[in-house]
């Protein structure tokens, strides 16, 4: 009802001005734009109407930084929708001020202390206003990844910006390591399948009883025709639909970077290649009929053999204690340091 009243009170020209400004779709207008759009005869007429709208809270005045050629600051007019104006008109003066600041902060949100500083209101009043606004679902508080301790507010219907949420890797402003790890595994597996043909069938056995099955070096290095590029990886993730979170290309890139840091994949001239070591560690690339934990008589121990080391280091127990990661018996390194 009050909305109607808001509009009804006004002159037709002011109504028309508001209507045009809202329907025309632009968020803000310069003075000249308005003049040509509304076909007012002179500035005074425009100003009168603008004043009416301003009084009703249906218009706000912004300052632009001055675009392009003219470095001077310009005055901009922006229409406010009726509901919005109605909302504000129902608030107390303090609430309206607080609300305007929260609104101005947009998707970045605003810290309570900043509100206090900007409004010059007492903390109690600010808090009371925030509380009442929040209870009416006008604003909401969000957690910022950058400043986890700050209480930050933004308009209820806005989604927080990436700066606040921390991007796709954060869930409730916590780094979602499980999500990242599973994505890493998926990407690695995708790349590995492209790098080593048929090494993932039959429980990781190399097919046809072969001892090795690789692509030739030309296929692996020169053209990279078979190896997936970043785009391929991205497309794979999108098409597989493994996640509802929208990942940009740079997000995928950072995942690939992490895999590179892990030495699970390597970047060869723009396309990715999985390392054989990573396949071995994941339990792939087994030779048919070969016992992984058999003693290596004619070979030297390599750190990378770690994946096939039995915990007790004594092979003749023969029992399946292979996966028990008892670090006590394997840590060789720290004693000199702590001496």
């Amino acid at each position: 009802m009050s909305g109607k009243v808001l509009i009804d009170d006004m002159s037709p020209s002011a109504k028309k001005m508001h209507h045009i400004m809202v329907t025309n779709g632009k968020s803000s207008y310069t003075q000249n734009e308005l003049l040509s759009l509304l076909k007012f005869e002179n500035i005074n007429e425009l100003m009168e109407n603008a004043q009416v709208l301003l009084n009703k809270g249906l218009l706000k005045i912004l300052e632009s930084d001055g675009d392009g050629d003219s470095k001077e600051k310009q005055i901009l007019f922006a229409a406010i929708s009726e509901q919005e104006a109605k909302k504000v008109s129902n608030m107390t003066a303090d609430e309206a001020i607080v609300y305007s600041h929260v609104e101005a902060a947009g998707r970045e949100g605003i810290w309570t202390k900043t509100i206090k500083a900007k409004t010059n209101l007492h903390q109690h009043i600010v808090l009371r206003c925030l509380k009442s606004l929040e209870s009416q679902s006008y604003i909401k508080s969000v957690k910022s990844v950058k400043h986890p301790t700050r209480k930050i507010y933004m308009l209820y219907h806005l989604t927080p910006s990436i700066d606040v949420t921390g991007g796709p890797w954060f869930t409730d402003s916590e780094l979602d390591t499980d999500f990242i790890d599973s994505l890493l595994i998926v990407i690695w597996k995708f790349v590995a399948q492209k790098t080593f043909p048929k090494c993932f069938k039959k429980r990781g056995l190399i097919p046809n009883g072969l001892k090795q099955y690789s692509y030739s070096s030309q296929l692996l290095s020169n053209m990279g025709t078979l190896l997936p590029t970043l785009n391929d990886v991205n497309e794979f993730i999108i098409s597989s639909g493994i996640t509802t979170v929208e990942l940009t290309l740079s997000d995928v890139k950072s995942l690939c970077d992490v895999l590179e840091f892990d030495e699970k994949i390597e970047n060869t001239g723009g396309s990715y290649k999985a390392t054989w070591q990573s396949v071995l560690e994941a339990g792939g690339g087994k030779i048919e009929g070969e016992d992984l934990f058999a003693p290596l008589d004619d070979e030297i121990f390599n750190v990378n053999d770690n994946y096939r080391v039995m915990d007790t280091l004594v092979a003749d127990n023969g029992e399946s204690n292979g996966n028990n990661n008892n670090t006590e018996s394997r840590v060789y390194l720290d004693s000199w340091i702590t001496l």
Binding site: L175, S216, V258, E299, D305, S329, Y332, S335
Partner: protein
């Protein structure tokens, strides 16, 4: 242990200082204790604490008396664990100083592996020969044969010596082996200076025009710096000459020729220093020679002392490590082919530790002339090192070290020892023409099998034919492929199968060239490869360090380390962002990495007063992991010592039991004579020993890639 002199009490066991003064000292002391006894280990540790010591000083420090001390020293010198310096005093008296030497200790550390490999490669007799040589430090063939009880073995033993010398496992002992390198170099500088001054005085103006004296020595108007440089170059030349001293080798072979015409001179002037010219030995040898005549010394001079070449062993060990790496980086079959490549050139490849790098350092440190008593101030120029690296890299691709796929095939056809059959090789490389469909896969396979079986039959006939011709080879079903290939080896190109094999080998070789982190091979021109050992030696330690980091600290540590390495200088928040890990976790890992010297902290001040509150701390990699490698290698050494020490302790704790089972009447009847609890105890002792040895060997194989690499 024996009594004391001048108040120093001989400790009842190896003192703590042996353990704490340095990890390498600890490891070597523990090893020496096992082989030569506690006193020798103690003396070694005493020598380790000082640069050099005279007999008197050593006796004072250790508390062991003259004759005992001398015996110990002789043993240690013989093993190459101690070297000595002879200083001539002004009044003609000579002082002898003793220093520790790691070479001998390393040989003892690796004795099991050396013997094992020699047994595998040559056989049991060779293994026992090499074992005895290591345990005695050095031996002449004559004295070895003389000690034999069964004279019928003499021929075999000699053949063993010959084989080992041929394969460079045994080399003649040089005078250089008994002196510290720095000392030898010092004497080289002395003689170079003398030579320079002498020639310089003789050099007159007339020589400039047509004289035959060396213009190198023209010193008039020459700056002191230039003179020093010339002397240093001269000294280096002299040193290298001494190092590559082949007189012993010549003698070794020359005598062989002479022996054929029954003309052995009883050579008293052995290459060895007088310290070991035991008169008894020579006498015995003479008798020996007379009794056995030419038959005994068929090809080698029995009078030249031989010692085990640790450098030769390192070459072998390096190759084994490389093969193992390639297996983890590329694949099984490729690794086997790489093994063939490496074995082919193992003997002639560059040494793992280059003497030249060391000498360059000595040259840089040396001081020339009077008045420059201390070491030189100029120091080691890094560009010298770079130049050396470049030179060595060029040497890696010398003639004879190049090869192509055909060479590998030839090698495969000649010998069976590489445990690679044609079956293993076929189908290992993805072929464009192959259908990727799995259903067809089986069919394809059977087709291939058919082909092969046809091939088998065909070559079986051929083999039968050639069997008569070359009766050395016996046809064996298991290693058929190799022998077949030899039979077909003459027309490599005509045989389509061989063409395929060749192509496969080439593909595997190419796979070795494309690895990004480790350049196993380099292709110089299409189809021609060489092994860039020098490059590998700088790549592998860093790679190895990272793998150790990954294994011991976890994958996330490797992730962060690699991230820091790639971004060069980066602060904590950005690390967390780029590795997608929580900041708290990142911080913990960085702390560990910093502790082990892998990562350095750099403060970046943001205000003029460098207030710590506002500054940021960024992280970077310690240059080329220098510090990390050093710490890590020491950790590994220390832990090896620790493992051995613990094994010793377990033995001591169970001494009564172990004594009991080694008694004559108990041996072989343990089950009857021991109590149940004792049997259990015995089992745990043996178990712990096994674990200890496994740990020891693993640590050793992890460390050796860092210990013996080039110093940069």
């Amino acid at each position: 242990m024996s009594g004391s002199t001048s108040g120093t009490v001989v400790p009842s066991e190896l003192p703590m200082t042996a353990k704490t003064q340095s990890p390498s000292c600890f490891l070597h002391c523990v090893i020496l204790r096992a082989y030569v006894g506690e006193q020798a280990a103690y003396i070694y540790s005493c020598l380790h604490s000082q640069r050099k010591m005279s007999l008197q000083q050593l006796s004072q420090k250790s508390g062991i008396k003259g004759i005992n001390l001398k015996k110990i020293l002789v043993t240690l010198i013989q093993l190459g664990c101690v070297v000595y310096i002879t200083n001539n005093n002004v009044n003609g008296k000579s002082n002898i100083f003793y220093c520790h030497n790691e070479e001998g200790c390393w040989k003892l550390t690796y004795i099991d592996e050396i013997v094992r490999h020699v047994r595998e490669k040559f056989g049991q007799i060779h293994a026992s020969v090499i074992q005895n040589v290591i345990l005695r430090g050095h031996l002449t063939i004559g004295s070895y044969v003389n000690d034999l009880e069964i004279k019928s073995e003499v021929d075999q033993i000699e053949q063993a010596f010959f084989d080992l010398v041929e394969d460079q496992w045994l080399v003649h002992a040089k005078e250089l082996d008994f002196k510290p390198l720095s000392e030898t170099f010092r004497s080289c500088i002395h003689s170079a200076t003398r030579e320079f001054v002498n020639n310089n005085l003789q050099y007159t103006k007339g020589n400039d025009i047509g004289g035959d004296s060396n213009p190198k020595f023209k010193s008039a108007g020459m700056s002191q710096l230039k003179k020093t440089q010339i002397i240093k170059d001269l000294a280096k030349e002299k040193f290298m000459k001494l190092y590559y001293d082949t007189t012993g080798k010549d003698k070794l072979n020359r005598a062989g020729k002479m022996n054929q015409i029954n003309e052995i001179k009883p050579s008293g002037e052995s290459a060895l220093s007088s310290l070991f010219d035991d008169d008894d030995d020579v006498d015995e040898y003479d008798v020996n020679e007379q009794s056995n005549g030419t038959k005994l010394l068929r090809r080698l001079n029995g009078n030249v002392p031989l010692t085990v070449s640790f450098d030769r062993f390192l070459k072998y060990e390096r190759d084994v490590q490389l093969v193992s790496l390639s297996k983890h980086r590329i694949g099984n079959v490729t690794a086997k082919i790489y093994n063939i490549v490496l074995k082919r050139i193992e003997k002639n490849s560059r040494e793992v530790r280059t003497i030249e790098g060391l000498v360059d350092r000595l040259v840089a440190d040396a001081s020339v002339g009077a008045g420059s008593a201390g070491s030189s101030t100029s120091g080691y120029d890094p560009s010298t090192g770079h130049e050396l690296m470049k030179r060595l890299e060029l040497r890696d691709q010398q003639k004879g070290l190049n090869f192509g796929a055909v060479d590998i095939l030839k090698e495969l056809s000649l010998s069976n020892k590489y445990s690679l059959t044609k079956d293993d090789l076929l189908g290992t490389i993805y072929d464009d023409n192959d259908d990727e469909d799995d259903d067809n896969g089986g069919e394809k396979m059977s087709k291939k099998r058919k082909l092969e079986s046809r091939f088998d039959n065909e070559s079986y006939k051929k083999t039968k034919l050639s069997k008569i011709a070359a009766d050395i080879k016996t046809f064996d079903d298991e290693d058929d492929e190799e022998i077949q290939e030899e039979d077909n080896g003459f027309d490599l190109n005509n045989n389509s199968e061989n063409g395929e094999v060749l192509q496969l080998i080439l593909q595997h070789l190419k796979l070795l060239t494309i690895d990004k982190k480790i350049s196993f091979l380099i292709e110089t021109s299409p189809g021609n490869f060489y092994v860039p050992f020098t490059m590998l030696q700088s790549q592998i330690p860093n790679f190895q360090v990272k793998q150790i980091v990954k294994t011991i600290f976890g994958t996330s540590s490797l992730r962060i380390l690699n991230c820091i390495e790639e971004k060069r200088l980066i602060e904590e928040k950005n690390i967390a962002k780029s590795v997608l890990m929580k900041e708290g976790d990142v911080r913990k890992i960085i702390a560990t990495l910093t502790k082990f010297g892998l990562v350095e902290i750099q403060e970046i001040p943001r205000t003029a007063d460098r207030s710590a509150m506002r500054g940021i701390f960024a992280f970077k990699i310690n240059k080329n992991y220098q510090r990390g490698k050093k710490i890590l290698s020491k950790c590994l050494m220390f832990n090896m010592g620790e493992v051995l020490d613990q094994m010793e302790q377990v033995k001591m704790e169970n001494k009564i039991l172990l004594d009991k089972i080694s008694r004559e009447d108990v041996r072989g009847r343990e089950v009857e004579l021991l109590l149940g609890s004792e049997l259990n105890q015995l089992k745990t002792v043996i178990e712990s020993e096994k674990i200890g040895l496994a740990k020891f060997i693993r640590l050793r194989s992890m460390g050796e890639m860092i210990w013996f690499a080039d110093r940069e």
